[in-house]
């Protein structure tokens, strides 16, 4: 039987498309490898799996190279046995290729640095991902995220109303914090100097970063806006290898900047978002970008240097280290600016080694955080990052990338390192010195308090969560105690649950206003618990806030056909963030406002 007859339709399509994707850069990389092995030790997967050759960059590359040799290179057509040319025939073989290109490489490009022949494995690894995606062979998480970004316009499926509501909420928080009703987060304002685009993770899991950026723009007196649509600066096309998605996403953002006639696009801290929007997007989209684009790191640095904002570094006293995001640093050359900014807003900075272009991946690159089937091997490869982090002795690791925040948080939790993760925007906002407004004092008239007006009761009455009933469900006793104590200190009545079944029972018995739900507890599957809570007609008004240290488990909840949780928090949770979110979920922020 001939080779063509035996090949599946998908395999046929992959080979055909490979021919369309070959350009000078890809062919150069595919043809140039001399198997010297110098790239091998660059890869964090190799270092974490000594003795397993299947993680070596050249081995992984050969899986794609053999196709090129067999079908598009004359040497492979004439001497296939000599140049190790080969083909793919079945869908199972394509699935195996999927496990290599998605599960064994984060496209971090560290191996590229060490190749004397200039082989850029990450580039054709991405191309291979794209070939597989084009025939529908992809990890489930990649499918979910890509579809969200194609159809809703952002990677996390955040609906327009939720995005706008979050901006409004952060505006109110900021007005309260600065005691200034004039502080705003402008939306769709025309003719501004800056249009600020963010990562949907900020809306969903880290809204404080939006407020922090707004505080900085406000202090700098910037004429700025956020767009109501086309606001996602991230781009899953970079990870999935789908150039059409890459072009479509980038174009939505570019078109919005033009429509609002903004002078400059400022991209919030995100490695792959910056690389996609600033460096790759215009090629994918075939779009001439007529405006300037800048990472918010540069914007913040500029504000300080130009004297537009004042900062006090003594407000950030902890020992911090810096993790270079692969996309920001290795791929886009942002090395010194974040360090300069860090030194202006922090007292104690300690380099991590190796660093800059030589830094190791956080393990979450290339969309790895969305591919839960590969989590064990990802976390295993994280031992390299964990050792790097531990050696710094730092209390805080700073990074300029939301993906890295998730990747590092996961490594820190898995390897039990006592370290927080934060971004530059949070440190700059914390160090910001805002001139206090001159307030004309109003003479206070002392009010006499009689003996029976009990001050303690009055104080309790004034607590933000007075009268609220909350169930805290988590299998880690320390976590339960922490959450319960904060909530009780703020006036709530708290019931504690250690399993999903206990959470269900308490919810049904106590009819709480809010239930905080850990996603990984012994006993009944938490996804099932969530669905049962949602489907119980007696618990229609119950609000649920997921609090998890396992972001890859989000799917357990978000894939169900029931109402989504009202809130979501990543562990570790601090008191301020917990209260901020609880007040938002219980709509106290609005009531109080």
């Amino acid at each position: 039987m001939s080779e063509k007859k035996q090949r599946s339709h998908k395999a046929e399509m992959v080979i055909e498309r490979l021919g369309q994707k070959l350009n000078r850069q890809v062919v150069g990389s595919l043809a140039a490898c001399v198997h010297c092995g110098m790239c091998t030790e660059s890869c964090h997967y190799v270092l974490a799996n000594p003795g397993d050759p299947t993680y070596a960059p050249a081995y992984k590359a050969d899986k794609v190279r053999k196709l090129f040799k067999r079908h598009y290179d004359w040497t492979g057509r004439v001497f296939p046995w000599w140049v190790k040319a080969g083909s793919v025939f079945t869908d199972e073989e394509l699935e195996e290729l999927k496990d290599t290109v998605f599960g064994k490489c984060t496209n971090c490009r560290r191996c590229t640095l060490n190749c004397p022949m200039g082989v850029d494995f990450a580039t054709f690894n991405r191309m291979t991902r794209g070939l597989l995606v084009s025939v529908g062979i992809q990890p489930e998480g990649v499918a979910v995220v890509s579809k969200d970004q194609w159809e809703i316009g952002n990677q996390m499926g955040v609906l327009k109303e939720d995005y706008l509501d979050t901006l409004e909420w952060m505006e109110e928080e900021l007005q309260d914090e600065l005691e200034d009703p004039g502080v705003t987060i402008p939306v769709d304002a025309s003719d501004c100097d800056v249009l600020y685009a963010i990562n949907p993770r900020e809306v969903k899991y880290d809204p404080r970063s939006i407020a922090d950026a707004a505080k900085i723009f406000h202090a700098a007196g910037e004429k700025w806006t956020m767009p109501s649509e086309g606001w996602d600066q991230t781009n899953f096309g970079l990870f999935s290898g789908d150039d059409a998605l890459g072009g479509s996403v980038a174009r939505r953002l570019y078109e919005k900047v033009i429509e609002l006639n903004a002078g400059k696009l400022v991209i919030s801290e995100c490695g792959h978002g910056y690389r996609s929007t600033r460096c790759e997007g215009s090629n994918w989209a075939g779009f001439d970008v007529p405006f300037e684009m800048e990472s918010s790191v540069l914007t913040m640095l500029r504000y300080i240097k130009e004297g537009r904002i004042k900062v006090d570094r003594s407000r950030n006293t902890q020992l911090v280290t810096f993790h270079d995001s692969c996309n920001n640093a290795r791929s886009c050359g942002l090395f010194e600016e974040p360090r300069e900014l860090l030194n202006l807003v922090c007292e104690n900075f300690q380099e991590m080694y190796p660093n800059r272009a030589e830094n190791y991946c956080c393990t979450g690159g290339g969309g790895a955080m969305s591919m839960s089937e590969y989590t064990p091997q990802r976390l295993k490869s994280g031992v390299i990052k964990a050792d790097q982090l531990k050696e710094t002795g730092a209390e805080v690791v700073v990074t300029s990338c939301h993906n890295c925040v998730d990747g590092l948080s996961d490594v820190i939790k898995h390897y039990e390192i006592d370290m927080e993760v934060t971004q530059l925007v949070n440190l700059v906002a914390n160090a910001l010195v805002i001139e206090e407004k001159v307030v004309v004092p109003v003479e206070e008239v002392p009010v006499a308090v009689t003996a029976d007006e009990v001050p303690v009761a009055a104080a309790l009455e004034a607590l933000p969560l007075s009268g609220r009933v909350i169930v805290v469900a988590d299998d880690e006793p320390d976590q339960v105690e922490f959450l319960a104590t904060v909530l009780e200190d703020n006036g709530a009545t708290v019931h504690r649950a250690g399993t999903g079944d206990e959470a269900l029972e308490l919810a049904r018995r106590e009819k709480p206003d809010l239930l905080t739900l850990d996603l990984h507890m012994p006993g009944r599957d938490v996804g099932e618990v969530f669905e049962m809570l949602r489907e119980d007609p007696e618990l229609e008004d119950l609000k649920i806030c997921v609090i998890t240290g396992r972001p890859e488990l989000r799917r357990l909840i978000y894939d169900r056909s029931v109402r989504r949780p009202e809130g979501y928090l990543d562990k570790p949770v601090d008191e301020a963030n917990l209260m901020l979110n609880v007040r938002k979920i219980l709509e106290l922020a609005h009531e109080e406002g």
């Binding site: 399509m13 969200d148 159809e151 998605l245 479509s248 429509e259 989504r564």
Partner: protein, 182 residues
């Protein structure tokens, strides 16, 4: 390459208007809109996620009662709390599978058939199969408009077909096909 945003476009076929707009298809007022469904009718992410969140759990519950659909098949469900009254779930071809155009044609015919059966007058389609499922916008536009045109030239209760797209490349493809049709 055009970098300006286009105006909406419409054409008349018999008594019926075919209108091209840029909007969120899950958030418009129509008798029904078409959702490019999966075989098992799970709403999933993307527009499916928006239907689940905005429409509420009743939509998926109703879908759970149906058997899985073959490619080309279409069924109708309620739309929960959405602005639309109903949703036509149509399973089109995906990801460079064989005979994309033929299967897309069948899917369109079945979706329109369901609309007629239910007496829907205003219906909306996305750029069927374009975007996530990888069908080229130009192919989607050609097939969709050809089927819509043939359908509206016959006896129909439909008065308005809205093609609701998200992206400029999709908009441009439909606009140029509609212009040629005119």
């Amino acid at each position: 390459m055009s970098q300006t945003l286009q105006e909406d476009t419409s054409i008349q076929i018999n008594q019926c208007v075919v209108r091209l707009i840029r909007d969120d298809i899950t958030d418009i007022e129509v008798d029904a809109f078409v959702y490019y469904a999966q075989h098992d009718l799970a709403l999933g992410s993307g527009f499916g996620g928006a239907i689940a969140v905005r429409g509420g759990p009743s939509v998926q519950k109703e879908l759970d009662e149906f058997d899985p659909l073959e490619t080309g098949g279409a069924i109708v469900s309620g739309a929960g709390n959405l602005k639309a009254d109903s949703i036509i779930h149509a399973v089109g071809p995906r990801f460079r599978e064989e005979d994309i155009e033929g299967k897309l044609r069948t899917t369109m015919i079945n979706a329109l058939r369901r609309a007629e059966e239910k007496g829907f007058r205003r219906i909306a389609f996305p750029a069927m199969g374009a975007g996530y499922y990888g069908i080229l916008p130009a192919v989607s536009a050609e097939v969709m408009l050809d089927v819509i045109k043939s359908h509206l030239e016959g006896e129909t209760g439909i008065s308005e077909v809205i093609i609701c797209v998200f992206d400029t490349p999709q908009f441009n493809a439909f606009q140029s096909t509609m212009t040629n049709l005119n």
